[in-house]
C-alpha cells in the first residue's frame, strides 16, 4: 500500500510540512527530513525549486530562489535522497513545477522517484485534464500518486471530477491566494471548509495555504483530514534553524 494511503488509515489528523529542498543550505534536505520525522510530522512535501514558481507566495519563492543559488538541481536532490528510506518512513511527496520534470525526462524522473521511495507528486501547473492525457499512465507505472488542488472557486462538478481522478489526498487550497501565512481563517474560509466537508468526497482532503499556527491548524483540521504548513515553516527555519524544528511542530500541535 502507498505510504500516503497507509498514513491516512493510521492517523485521523495529518500534519504535513512543506520545505524547499536546498534551503536554507544546500545540504539541509536530509537533516530537515530527520528532524520532521522525529518531531512527529505525518508527511512531508519536498519542494523542487524552480526559477519561476508562479503559484507560490513570496516566502516560498524566495526560498526557491535561494535553493537554486545554493546549487540545488533535480539530480542533486535525487542524490541527496538516495537511501533516505533507511531513515525516513513517513510519506514523502515531491512538489515541483512541470518544466524541470520534463527536462529531466518524465519517465526518468518517475523512475528515480520510485527508486528513492517517493510516494507522490504535486505539480501545480499540471492540470488534471493534461495529467490524464499526458502522464497518468506513466505515474501509475511507477507507483506515484499525483495530488490535485481544489480552491474556493472550484465548481462542485469539477471537485467531483477531481475526486474521481485523485489518489492519496486532495490538496484543498484554503483561500483564493497564493501561499503565505495568515494568522486566522475568516468566515468565508470556514464556510468553504464546511461546504467541502459536506460533499463527503472519497479522497481525503488536506488544507494548505495559510496554515501558520495552532489556531489555523485547528480550524483546518476540524473540517478536513489534515493540513500542510509551508511558508510559516520556511520562515521559522530561516530564523531559528534546523535544530529547533521540534519546537515549531510542538507549537502547532499544542
Amino acid at each position: 500500500m502507498n505510504r500516503i494511503d497507509q498514513k491516512f488509515k493510521e492517523e485521523n489528523t495529518i500534519l504535513s510540512i512543506y520545505f524547499s529542498a536546498g534551503h536554507p543550505n544546500l545540504e539541509d534536505t536530509v537533516p530537515i527530513l530527520k528532524q520532521l520525522q522525529a518531531a512527529g510530522v505525518d508527511m512531508v512535501e519536498i519542494g523542487l525549486p524552480f526559477s519561476d514558481p508562479l503559484a507560490d507566495g513570496p516566502t516560498i519563492q524566495e526560498s526557491s530562489t535561494q535553493a537554486l543559488r545554493n546549487g540545488m538541481t533535480t539530480e542533486k536532490l535525487f542524490t541527496q535522497l538516495k537511501g533516505i528510506r533507511e531513515h525516513i518512513h513517513i510519506p514523502l511527496v515531491l512538489m515541483g513545477y512541470y518544466n524541470p520534470m520534463m527536462q529531466f525526462g518524465l519517465e526518468n524522473f518517475c523512475q528515480r522517484c520510485q527508486e528513492i521511495g517517493i510516494d507522490g507528486l504535486i505539480i501545480p501547473d499540471l492540470p488534471v485534464e493534461v495529467y490524464q492525457e499526458e502522464s497518468q499512465d506513466l505515474f501509475n507505472r511507477y507507483g506515484l500518486y499525483n495530488m490535485f488542488l481544489i480552491t474556493p472557486q472550484t465548481s462542485e462538478e469539477r471537485i467531483r471530477y477531481i475526486d474521481k481522478v485523485s489518489k492519496g489526498f486532495i490538496y484543498m487550497v484554503s483561500s483564493a491566494s497564493v501561499t503565505g501565512a495568515q494568522s486566522a481563517f475568516g468566515d468565508v474560509q470556514t464556510e468553504y471548509f464546511q461546504r467541502i466537508q459536506d460533499m463527503h468526497l472519497n479522497t481525503p482532503t488536506v488544507v494548505g495555504f495559510g496554515i501558520s499556527n495552532a489556531e489555523t491548524y485547528q480550524a483546518a483540521t476540524s473540517h478536513s483530514r489534515g493540513a500542510i504548513i509551508g511558508s510559516a515553516f520556511i520562515k521559522f527555519l530561516e530564523n531559528e534553524g534546523v535544530e529547533r524544528i521540534p519546537e515549531f511542530i510542538k507549537s502547532i500541535r499544542s
Binding site: L54, A55, N99, P124, Q153, T154, A176, V178
Partner: protein
Amino acid sequence: MNYNVNEKGYYGDFGGAYIPEMLYPNVEELRQNYLRISAEPSFKKEYDELLKNYVGRPTPLYFAKRLSEKYNTKIYLKREDLCHTGAHKVNNTIGQILMARRLGKHRIIAETGAGQHGVATATVCALMGMECIVYMGALDIKRQAPNVARMKMLGAEVRPAQSGSKTLKDATNEAIRDWINNPVDTHYIIGSVVGPHPYPDMVARFQSVISEETQWQLQELEGRNYPDYVIACVGGGSNAAGLYYHYLNDERVKIIAVEAAGKGINSGESAATSALGKEGIIHGSKTLLMQTADGQITEPYSISAGLDYPGVGPMHAHLFRTQRAEFISIPDQEAMDWGLTLSQMEGIIPAIETAHAFAVLDVRRFKPEEILVFNCSGRGDKDLDTYIDYFKL
C-alpha cells in the same frame, strides 16, 4: 497543413494550458466564451469602431520607396507604429478590455517589460474607467521611466516585481499571482501570444486585423491580396502573429520571423529562442523556451526590452518546428544600425524591436518583383534614450 490552433488549444505539439488549479475558473471561463463573445455583432461593432475612431485604424500600408530602390525589391511597411500609444499592442488591449467587460470584470491587471503593453492596457482602462494594475520588473521600472510615467498619467498603478531578476518574466509571474489572488473580479490582459490557451489564440485573433487590412490594402496597391514575404520581429510573437495570421495557410506567402540575437547567439546574452530554446513550459504554455539543462528558465538578453523574453508563443514554436517560417536572429548592433537607417531613409524612427525585422534585408536576397511586407510594429520614441546612448547623439 493547418497552422491555426486546434480545438484543444494546441498548435501541433505546442500550446495548451499548464496552469495551477487556482487559475482554472478564470481561464476556463475565458476559453468557453472568447469565441462566442468576439463573434457577437455588438462586440464586433464596438471593437471595430474603437479600432477606427480611437486607435486610428486602418494603419497605412506604406511603400518604402527609397528602401525599395536601395534593395531592389518591393518593400511595404505595415504602419502599426501609427496606432494610438505607438505600437500594435493596443489592438489586443482594446479587444481584451471589451472581453473583460462582457465577462463582468472590473479590475484589470497586466504585465509589461518595455512598458508598451502596460501603456496600451492603462490606456484602455482609462477609456473604460476601469481599475488598472500593471506589474513591471523593478529593474525595468528604472530603465523605462517615461513609459512608467505614461501609465501613471493614465491613472494606472505600476507595481514593481521584486522577485527573480526583476524584469519581464518576473512581472508576468507577479501578474499571474495577482490573478490567483483575485479570481472573481479581475481580468488579466496578457500582452502577447503567450500564456495558457486561449490567450495565444485570442491575442492572435485581435492582432489579425493587421493581415486582414494588409490583404485589401495590397489588393488596392498591387492588384493581388498577398505578398511574397511577411516579415516581423518576434518577442512573444503578437505583432508577427497579427501579420502572418491570414497568410498562415497560404503557402504562396513565405514567413520570416526575426528574433533578437542580443550580443550573439553563443554569447550567453541572447534572446534567440528558436536557436537556443528547447520545448518546455513557460507561463502556462508548452512552447520553446530558453532554459538550463535542469529546466530552470534562463534570463534572456536583448537591447530591446520587448524582445527580451525567454520564450515564444506556441504558434511560433510550431511555425519553427514545421519550418513553415524561417527564423533569423539579429544581434543588437545590426538592429540599432537599422534603427538609424530606417530613420534616415524613410523618416520613420522604429522601435528597436521593429528595427530587428528590417535587418533581414542584409542577410537575405529578394527579387525585384517580390513583394515584402514588414510589420512596423512600433515607434522608437520609447527607445530614444537607448539610441542616444548608443549613437552618442
